[in-house]
């Protein structure tokens, strides 16, 4: 069956450290993979998009990698701050899609302690 999975356990780290979140998928051939941030009671906010032929993408303190052989994406936040505390969602766009329909993982909650 098709699945997209993120660590369901919350990730607790100390301010200044690097947070690494994992997204694994099975039985999909994604054209794109996206990462979103969601704060309590709010809608998801787009962070980064990476294409199937890209290995790595960076934006300020954020970095995403995409390994289509391992069927995995890693999301890194360097020099983390308490303001980075939120739930992070990965979402893929299946290669067969022409509508941009997103298939989400369940999200990982990050808590950055001062």
């Amino acid at each position: 069956s098709q699945k997209i999975e993120q660590n369901s356990e919350a990730l607790n780290i100390q301010e200044g450290k690097t947070a690494t979140l994992t997204c694994n998928y099975t039985n999909y051939s994604p054209a794109y993979l996206q990462w979103y941030r969601q704060d309590p009671g709010r809608g998801p906010v787009f962070l980064l998009l990476i294409r199937e032929n890209e290995k790595e993408k960076r934006k300020e303190r954020l970095k995403v990698t995409f390994d289509t052989t391992l069927k995995q994406s890693l999301f890194h936040i360097t020099a983390s701050q308490p303001a980075d505390s939120a739930t992070y969602l990965c979402a893929l766009v299946p290669g067969s899609s022409n509508t941009g329909k997103l298939i989400f993982g369940q999200g990982t909650t990050l808590q950055v302690k001062p």
Binding site: Q34, G43, A91, V93, T99, K101, F104, G105
Partner: protein, 115 residues
């Protein structure tokens, strides 16, 4: 530049009732997608509307229906509400033709509670 707006923000209904949720897309966007997010889960795709037609549908029963208006705004209707329909309903907008390789812009959702 107005983002995606949804109304109402919260709604309480009882089992068997019907509900209508509304969404105005981000300025310049013509495609609207609806997602259901249960507590502690990621959003699940319900359907997408473009040019006033349902373009793609997720694994949701016919009790879930929608509509898109000429001004690109959209409604989600749910009939015969069940307790399991309690969730955050999110609307996302994008621009057709670029949707597959562009992010979607989400509203803050409507929190629907079924008693």
């Amino acid at each position: 530049d107005a983002g995606v707006t949804q109304s109402p923000t919260h709604l309480i209904k009882t089992r068997g009732q019907q509900v209508t949720l509304r969404c105005s897309p981000k300025s310049g966007h013509d495609t609207v997608s609806w997602y259901q997010q249960a507590l502690g889960q990621g959003p699940q795709f319900i359907f997408q509307y473009y040019e006033e037609e349902e373009r793609q549908r997720g694994n949701f029963p016919d009790r879930f229906s929608g509509h898109q208006f000429p001004n690109y705004s959209s409604e989600l209707n749910v009939n015969a509400l069940l307790l399991g329909d309690s969730a955050l309903y999110l609307c996302a907008s994008s621009l057709a033709g670029t949707a597959i390789n562009q992010p979607q812009h989400f509203g803050d959702g409507t929190r629907l509670s079924i008693l």
